[in-house]
């Protein structure tokens, strides 16, 4: 591990996963930098002044392993690699995010760990993914849904690896604004695994969430159109700068129907 130090910041640059885990410790007072595509503008503008930072770019947390029907993706894997090598619908979702230069730098761990609703959070929810992470009390593995609920708390964690079963089929449908860098304001992911279909949305409610009423309707034998009509049962459409609650509530069932049709 190398450590670069100035009066203002000590930056730890681990060269293996075990060094990263040791350097992170209980996470107290340390800022994790994946690709830095969210954090760097904060640091440059002086809104975030880390005293200690952990730079993951050389930590070797970037393997994508697909074997025996399961998928494991290191938290430091770039979105360029996810777009090229991950199964659907994760690859398509990653490919539609930002632009090639940002994707080459941005990591999956950063997208899932950002409080500002990374587009891939809902995709991992639909995939029923787990995350192995470390921090106070050591390593543990839990559903991504629980990891996301931690936001706002003070339990700092270092995500190490995401895991999920290789799905039978998956689809991803999103709305874009006419601009080179749209964060989508609404996207729906559908995944078929065994006899179950799982559906999750970004932009239906604040944060990302599954749509259990749609899933239940499908399990009960409803047609994709009828199931999609249940999308609002679990949504709390909201107003923000990108779309009004009124618009979201009208678009959501259509996107769910499209995602189910594409499965």
């Amino acid at each position: 591990m190398t450590a670069a130090s100035t009066a203002s910041a000590e930056v730890l640059i681990p060269s293996s996963p075990s060094e990263a885990i040791e350097a992170f410790g209980d996470g107290d007072g340390i800022v994790v930098i994946g690709g830095g595509t969210i954090l760097m503008p904060e640091i440059v503008a002086g809104r975030l002044v880390p005293e200690r930072a952990l730079l993951l770019s050389r930590a070797g947390l970037d393997a994508i392993i697909r074997e025996g029907g399961t998928v494991r993706i290191g938290a430091g894997t770039t979105l360029e690699a996810v777009a090229a090598e991950a199964p659907e619908p994760l690859a398509t979702a990653a490919r539609q995010l930002a632009d090639p230069e940002v994707r080459r730098q941005a990591t999956l761990g950063g997208n899932i760990s950002t409080i500002s609703d990374g587009d891939l959070q809902a995709v991992l929810l639909a995939l029923d993914a787990t995350v192995r992470h470390t921090g106070s009390g050591g390593e543990r593995t839990e559903p991504v849904a629980s990891y996301l609920r931690r936001f706002g708390g003070d339990d700092e964690r270092l995500a190490l690896e995401f895991g999920f079963d290789e799905p039978e089929a998956g689809s991803y449908t999103r709305l874009d604004r006419p601009h080179a860098h749209p964060y989508t304001y609404m996207a729906v992911t559908a995944v078929r695994a065994g006899s179950a279909t799982k559906v999750a949305a970004k932009g239906a409610s604040p944060g990302c969430s599954r749509l259990p009423a749609v899933e239940q309707a499908l399990a009960d034998g409803a047609s994709p159109e009828d199931a999609a009509a249940r999308a609002l049962d679990d949504a709390e459409p909201f107003d923000d700068a990108l779309a009004s609650a009124w618009y979201r509530s009208r678009v959501l069932p259509t996107l769910v129907a499209r995602a189910l049709a594409d499965l």
């Binding site: 640091i43 440059v44 730079l55 930002a98 090639p100 230069e101 080179a180």
Partner: protein, 179 residues
Amino acid sequence: MRLMVNGAEQEVDSGPLASLLHVLREELDITSPKAGCQQGGCGACTVLVDGKPQRSCLTPLASVEGAMITTVEGLGDAGELTAVQQAFYAKYGAQCGYCTSGMMLAATALIDATNGDGVTRQEIEEVMGGHLCRCTGYVKIIEAVEAASRGETFDLEELRRAGTAGGEETMILDTGGQS
């Protein structure tokens, strides 16, 4: 910390979390990477890191120790414009020039990756879609990249002469080294 910029080793004093953009412009006086949005959204600051285009405003200095950084100042041989630079000039791919160095570096990396096979319009739009230009309307830029990817070269002296034909001078700005 030591940094390799345009083939020369540089010793820099900025902190490890300073952006590469800041180090290039403020410490090394290399002003072709522009500080546009400084949020990753415009591509004006793009440089090549080990031959691949990367937003220097999003890049912490500590992450590029040992890497080869290239800015447009380091393209081609001294006094000679590369095919991409010639094409941007000849095809009017640059107006105010603010986006131009990022555009040219992204185009250079794209063309290098195709080993002279030419690039499609779709590939150019995909790879350079994150680069914003407020002047050209993009058409001229795309035509310039297509021309460079086909290996077209231009007689710039001839173009300059043609530009002054009929007494009308082509506006060639002498910035006196300012940027």
